[in-house]
Symmetry: C2
Subunit: 152 residues, 2 copies
């Protein structure tokens, strides 16, 4: 009997970021229709409530959502769903879109092992890759998640 165990580790979007997108989508469905409470969003989207609290707070500090404290309070979207892209949310929670720090626009950092950045062929090529990802991630917005597929 052979037991095969496949453990695969991958670098992907964090759950925090994914939950944020789901929460924003839920709020977008309620755009200009009052507010929703953390507990409700958590239940509807299968997100741990206390974890979601932190996420909504971060979204508030990033001025994507607004809140109302006290009994009967909740969260609401303050930006148009069409103006919140996946790129925006990804940068907020997971950081750079580029695969290398020396290629990042918003999170640039020099590579320690690089001798001459100006002639670095990797940098040149990874800029192309970044642009491929960045364009798509900027094009897809929270609004993309609430419209149905054929209403493209």
């Amino acid at each position: 009997m052979i037991i095969q165990l496949f453990i695969i580790f991958t670098i992907m979007m964090s759950k925090k970021c994914k939950y944020a997108l789901k929460a924003l989508t839920r709020l977008a469905k309620n755009f200009n229709k009052g507010h929703l409470q953390t507990a409700d969003i958590a239940r509807l989207e299968n997100i741990p409530k206390k974890f979601l609290e932190q996420i909504l707070l971060e979204l508030k500090h990033a001025r994507m959502v607004g809140s109302k404290q006290g009994s009967g309070g909740g969260y609401f979207l303050i930006k148009n769903p069409k103006e919140i892209s996946v790129a925006d949310v990804y940068r907020l929670f997971d950081g750079a879109i580029a695969l290398l720090p020396c290629v990042s626009i918003n999170f640039y950092e020099r590579c320690e092992d690089c001798t001459d950045e100006k002639s670095c062929a990797m940098q040149r090529e990874f800029i192309k890759i970044r642009e491929g990802a960045r364009k798509m991630m900027s094009k897809v917005t929270i609004h993309s998640f609430i419209k149905d597929s054929d209403s493209q």
Copy 2:
């Protein structure tokens, strides 16, 4: 006096993967011209030698490079540099190109918090994002790193 400390965490390519690409590029420059030793590649590319050993071994197991043991041995490329894409190397070391497991071609996994995958708008949109990244990462090869910019 205000001290501001910015700590930014980002999800990027692992160093292992980056080092692998650099090592492959170095071997590609020597394609069909004999072999290079770990120590030399390590020195030329500023990669910790023992770490590079592991990486070259993984590349060997993935049949991208070949090796010769014993004194005067070393590593050499066995695939054409044009046929080793960034996507290939990335998948080997860092896993999925897609940002969500349910969107990955090679590392698919169901999302626990998803109720109905067929009607999931996020999945539908993230496939587009994956394709943006995947196309670019498949187009850029080790050969891209050794040619100069205007010889496009």
